[in-house]
Symmetry: C2
Subunit: 410 residues, 2 copies
Amino acid sequence: MGVYEKMSLIVMKFGGTSVKDAERVRNVAGIVTDSYKKDNSVVVVVSAQGDTTDDLIEKAAEITAHPTNREMDMLLASGEQISASLLAMCIQDMGYPAISLTGWQAGFLTSSAHSSARIRNVYPDRIRREIDQKKIVVVCGFQGVSRYDDITTLGRGGSDTSAVAIAAAMHADLCQIYTDVEGVFTADPRKVPNAKKLDEISYDEMLELATLGAQVLNNRSVEMAKKYNIELEVLSSYTKVPGTIVKEKVKMEKMLISGVAKDTDVARLSITCIPDRPGMVFKRFSKLAARNINVDVILQSVGRDGTKDIAFTVAQNKGAEAKEICEKFADTVGAESVDYDDDIAKVSIVGAGMESHAGVAAKMFEALYDKQINIRMISTSEIKVSVIINKDDADRAVSAIHEKFFPTDN
Amino acid sequence: MGVYEKMSLIVMKFGGTSVKDAERVRNVAGIVTDSYKKDNSVVVVVSAQGDTTDDLIEKAAEITAHPTNREMDMLLASGEQISASLLAMCIQDMGYPAISLTGWQAGFLTSSAHSSARIRNVYPDRIRREIDQKKIVVVCGFQGVSRYDDITTLGRGGSDTSAVAIAAAMHADLCQIYTDVEGVFTADPRKVPNAKKLDEISYDEMLELATLGAQVLNNRSVEMAKKYNIELEVLSSYTKVPGTIVKEKVKMEKMLISGVAKDTDVARLSITCIPDRPGMVFKRFSKLAARNINVDVILQSVGRDGTKDIAFTVAQNKGAEAKEICEKFADTVGAESVDYDDDIAKVSIVGAGMESHAGVAAKMFEALYDKQINIRMISTSEIKVSVIINKDDADRAVSAIHEKFFPTDN
C-alpha cells in the first residue's frame, strides 16, 4: 500500500472477536502501534469484547422479559467501555501514549431512538486534542449520547458506522475495518473454497453485497462512506495482508461481477386473487411501511378472473408481523388467501461490470438450470441480479454460480 | 420510624452484595418501590454487582501489571453502569417509572485524582428533573467526572460518599445505607454473640468506629454527613427492621460506650536510644507525613543514658515504607535500633458518654487484666480509648471488654 506510507490520519475499527480476550487485545495493540510507529495519527474504534454483549443481554433477561431500550443502551454501552479501556492500557503497557474515550467523550451526538440511534453529528474536538498530544485514541464504538444526555447505541454492527463517522468528521485518509476475514470475497470463502479476494470494490457493489447478506460491512457504514467519500479497507486482524479497498471508482477489471451472496434471512408472502382496483398495491405496502417493514423482491402477476396475485419478501424477523398485516388486508379487500414461506433463500450476483455487459443474468440462470435448481422469484437492478430459491438449494446455487463466473483454474 | 412517614426525599444506597444477582436486584427493587409507594421521592445509589469490580480488575491484570489510574477508572466505572441499569429495568418491570444515571449524568464533578477522586460538587439538576417527573432515580455510585470530562472513581467504599453527597446537594430528609448487617452494633456480631444493635449513634462516635475498623460505613461519608448534617440510617437489605440512625445529637442513654472495635490492619514501629535533642521527633514524623503515612498511637519514653525510645503505629500496608524511613532516620541521628511488629491489633472503646464519666478507661483495663491480656500501648481521646495488644488476644479482648460494659442479661 505504497500510497498510504505518508498517511497522516487513520481510523481503525476492531470488532468483538478481534478483542475477545487479553491475547487478542495485545494483537490489536500490536497492529495499532505498528501504524503509529509509521508516523500515522491513529484513532481506534472498538466493539465490546467477544461475548460481552450477549452476557449483558442475558443479565437483563434474568431481570425482565421487556427491558426498556433506554436502560438496555445504558447496560450495553458498558461493554465498549470495558474493551476500550483494556486496549488503551495495553497500548500504554507497550510504551505508547493512549487514551480511551466513551461515545459521549468522543463527541457522538445521536438521535434519541434508543437501541437503533442514528448519528446526528460527531464533534471530534476531544479526539483532535488528544491526537495533537500524539496520543493513540481508543473510542467506544456503537454508542453515543442523545441531546438529552442519555446514552444511546447504534444497534448491532454500529461500530462500523462509528468508525466511518469519525473518519468523515476528521477527514481521515483511510478507515480500516478489521474483521476475521481477509477482505471482500467473490463468495463466502467458508462455503466456496475457490472464492477470490477482491482488491477493490465500489461503494455501490459493496452496498448490494452488504444488503444481500455478505455480512462483511454494516450497510449504514458503507452508505456513509459513500456520502463522505471515505476510503474503506476491509482486512483481517489475524493476518498481515492487504485487504479489500472500498471506494467510489474501481479499476476496470475483467470480472463482470464482484461477488455471489446468499441471504437466508428472508421470508416470502403471497396474496392471491386481489381484486384489480387502483391503489390496492399502494395501500398494502403503505401499511407495511408504517410498521417499518422493508419489502424486498416483489412479483405481481395476473390471477384468475382479472384478479391479481402479489408475492414479496421481507426480513424473517418481520415475517409474522407482515403476515398479520397481509391477512387483515386480504380480509378487507376480499382477496383469497395469504401464503407464508420462510424456507427460502435469496442468492444474488453483484457487479458494476454488468451494467455494460449483456447476458450476465442469463449466465446466472444457466448455472442454476445446470443444477436443476428451481427459481421462484427474480429481481434485478443495474448492478445486481437476485433470485429466490428453496433454502436447501442455496449453498449449491452459490457454488454453481461462482464456478460459472470464476471457473476453477485447473 | 414514625417521624419519616411524611418524608419527601430519601436517598438509599445499596452495596455490591445487595445487588449481586437478579434475585438480590429484585429484592432491592422491592425495598425501593415500597418507599416510593409511601409517597417518598427516592434516589437510589448503587455499587457494582458482587464480584464485578474484582472481575474487571482481573481483566486489567491479564493485560498489564501497571494499568494507569485513568484507564482503570474508565474500566471500573462500567460496573455501576451495569448494576444501575439492571435495577432501573427491574423497577420498571414492577410497574414503576425509573431511570438510571451514570456519575456524570447525575452531576458528580470530582477532582482529577483518578482512583481516589474527591467529590468537588454535585449538580443534581438532572436528578431533580427526573424526580419532578415522579421517577425513581438510580444513580451509579463510586464515580464521577473530572473537569477534563474524564471518568473518575472515588475509590472503594466511595458509594457511601456518593449517597451522602446527593443527600447533601438535594437536602434529602434521610440517607439510608443498606448493608448486610442490621445496623451499628456494640461489637462485631459475628464475633461477639450478645453484641447489641444501637438505635442511634453520633457522627463523632461513628467516625471513631469507622476509623477503628468497624467497617460499617466509609469514613469520608460520615465526615460529609456530619458537615452537612445529613441524617444517616445504617440498615440491612435482608431484613425489614429499623437500623441505626447516625446524627449529631443522640438521646442520652444509660450506655457509657457505643461500641467495641477491633482493627488488625496495624503495624508497630519502635526506635530505641534516640539522642535527646530538640526537633528529633518532629523530624521523623515530618518525613512520614511527606510520604503520606498516617501515624496513629504514639508512645515516647525515656531510654538509657538520657536517650529516648519512641514507638508508634501505622496502617499495615504502609509498614514496610515506614520501616525504611525509620531506619534511615536511625542511621542519621545515631539511634540504636528499629523494631517492626505487625502481629498486633488495636482494640478500642468508643462512646460520647465517656466524656462525662470517669473510670471508663479503668473499666476497660480491668477487663483485659481479668483475662491476663498484656497491653502494649494506650491512646485516648475525648470519646475513645484504644489499646495495642497482641493479635492473638484481640477477639478475646473484644469479648471481655464488651461483657464488662454490656453484661449478658441472664
